[in-house]
């Protein structure tokens, strides 16, 4: 277990009556990339601002290397922040932008030159050092903004929606670039985004936020495969997770959920103690976590088919499960989908059970990583 670099303890921020951040506790390990993921307005940016010190929390604490930094001014926290709009100083050359943080730290000129040379080479912006920002494209500005922060050698690097101002093609390239930066520098990175793909592809751990509250904080794998509640399940994944309303029941020693004529088996695991047969529940299962069942598969269940949409190598089948609809991704060309109903089987234990009202995960199962 690596060191805990940054720890948020019951962090809370209120703006008048509005609770922007609701008692969030997160611990981030050294050299780890953590993504703060959530829809806009969920309090991610407020958390970011509190970490760097641009805003003061209403209550709670922020620890860096175990020490509270609440009374440390932003410039002395040794945290780098890259803004969504890059916030490059437009009236200065790229070189002056990179030098800004070092000059503030009263570094000597030869040393500044050396550091700038190093970081500009690392980010391949050496040939643009004497240009003004208005001559640069978005991805170059992004590099300048990252470079301006990296050159001060921060202990933690915060990136606020770093890819959202880039075009799609640039975005992939920059994502690779960010992964390289992280790998090469071993930097602890906090990455704020509303884009689940970015979070899943870049982060070791993901903290999913909604309405100011932390929904789940876990590894990328676990957040995706074992969502802690219905919101997390619905926020990640495309096409989205299927949510099947039904009642919990027992069928020959197995737990199942039934709705109308349909029944889906649940994996083994500990069920919450106050849940019993007959309770209203919602099953969450990702389209790719279901596959066509062999005729003799004991775990199979049958659903009526509503629509079949081939999409190249894959085909999306829309079926119904009681009142809910169910999407499944199957390989194109399988004759099984031509029938009125298909037999499906869940892949391993990737079926989640949520409380119908609160949306909380009920079944504790699975192979967490």
């Amino acid at each position: 277990m690596a060191n805990i670099k940054l720890e948020l303890v019951n962090l809370r921020k209120e703006f008048g009556d509005l609770v922007a951040v609701d008692d969030v506790s997160i611990a981030i390990e050294e050299s780890e990339t953590m993504a703060l993921l959530g829809p806009s307005g969920c309090g991610k940016s407020t958390i970011l601002n509190m970490i760097v010190g641009l805003e003061a929390p209403t209550s709670g604490d922020i620890l860096i290397d175990g020490k509270s930094v609440l009374n440390v001014p932003p410039g002395d926290r040794n945290i780098g922040l890259v803004f969504q709009d890059y916030a490059v100083f437009t009236h200065m050359t790229v070189r002056s932008n990179l030098a800004y943080g070092l000059k503030v730290r009263k570094m000597k000129q030869p040393e500044i030159d050396r550091e700038i040379a190093k970081v500009s080479e690392f980010l391949s912006i050496t040939h643009q050092l004497d240009r003004k920002p208005d001559e640069l494209g978005a991805s170059e500005l992004q590099r300048v903004a990252i470079g301006r922060t990296l050159v001060t050698n921060p202990e933690i690097l915060l990136l606020d929606e770093p890819l959202s101002n880039l075009e799609a093609a640039m975005r992939n390239q920059m994502r690779r670039e960010l992964r390289r930066i992280q790998a090469d520098t071993g930097q602890t990175i906090i990455y704020v985004t509303h884009d689940q793909i970015e979070a899943l592809s870049l982060a070791h751990r993901i903290a999913v936020m909604d309405f100011g509250a932390l929904q789940q904080y876990d590894t990328a794998h676990n957040v995706y495969q074992y969502p802690a509640n219905r919101f997390v399940g619905s926020f990640l994944g495309n096409p989205p997770m299927n949510f099947l309303k039904g009642k919990l029941a027992e069928d020959g020693g197995r737990r199942v959920v039934t709705s109308g004529d349909s029944t889906i088996p649940l994996p083994a695991g500990n069920l919450g103690s106050d849940v019993s047969a007959g309770a209203d529940v919602v099953v969450g299962v990702r389209p790719e976590s279901l596959s066509l069942a062999a005729a003799d598969d004991p775990g199979r269940f049958s659903v009526p088919v509503l629509a079949v949409e081939p999409q190249g190598p894959e085909t999306v089948v829309t079926a119904s499960f009681g009142d809910s609809s169910l999407k499944v991704i199957v390989p194109t060309g399988d004759p099984a989908v031509e029938r009125d109903s298909i037999d499906l089987v869940p892949v391993s234990d990737l079926v989640a059970l949520f409380d119908a009202e609160s949306g909380v995960r009920l079944l504790d199962s699975g192979d967490r990583r």
Binding site: L54, E55, A56, P74
Partner: protein, 311 residues
Amino acid sequence: MPERKFTPFNFIALIAGLLFAVFPILWMVSTSFKLRSEWVTSPPTWISSAPTVDNYLTILAPHILLERRGGTQQVGDEDFGGSKDDAAGGAIADFLNRSAWPGIKGSIIISISATILSIVVGLMAAISISRYRFGGNFTPFFILAGRMFPPIAIAIPFVIMFGPKVFDITDTYIGLILAYAAVTVPFSTWMLKSFVDDLPHEIEEAAMMDGYSRWRAHFTVTVPLIKGGIIATTLFIFILNWSEFLFALILTYTNVQTIPVTLSKYFSATEGTLYGVQAALAMVSIVPLVTVGFFIQKHLVRGLTLGAIKR
């Protein structure tokens, strides 16, 4: 900007700024209600012991003052500039001479006419410049040149130009209206241009597609759409015209008067400076300005910077 607190030092600075800005105005208000005996005292009187509106009556309704004392000189008249030895007739003449009505009338006629002229001419020019880029860079700056000259430098040839052998408009309304409009038209043109600039030209083009002629498109589409801007500009130009002093000082004698000139003439009245009366007239003259200025507060910066800064 990061959360920044309003510190005690900020508070002191704000109070100092406010006092500096407001104190002279308050002093003028206070003086306008002072008795004559309180105009010049040592130490100065800050607030009148018996506030009076007589200063206002002197300029606005001198006959009330005269009626009050039955048209004859009485004890206490020295409060109003007369002396006990004056004959009643002399006092009447004295009071009527101080009426500000000729100045108020002149200011209203000239300011309103010059404002209308300036706005109409400026609006046409603004459309021409904004929509057709007429004259490229030269024309807009040529128009602006009218505002660059010190008015006194232009006033010297005006004296001859307005004289009998040329236009013969010295001491007439028309003369001052033309002069005022000429010095305010750069402001109206530039300010209106900035409002027309704000309006997407597709709107007029749509009207032209619908078969409107260009003239009709401009005057039935453009003009109504910048109505707010036109009103703001009109009020702003009115402030400028109402405040104009030099041309009226030089180009009028007795026929035409304006408030600023009337105000400056009290200064040299034989009885010395009539502080209270002058303050009362100053109050009367700035009330419309401050009212109008308050309404177009958010447009003031646009007007004064010729549309370069919009908010």
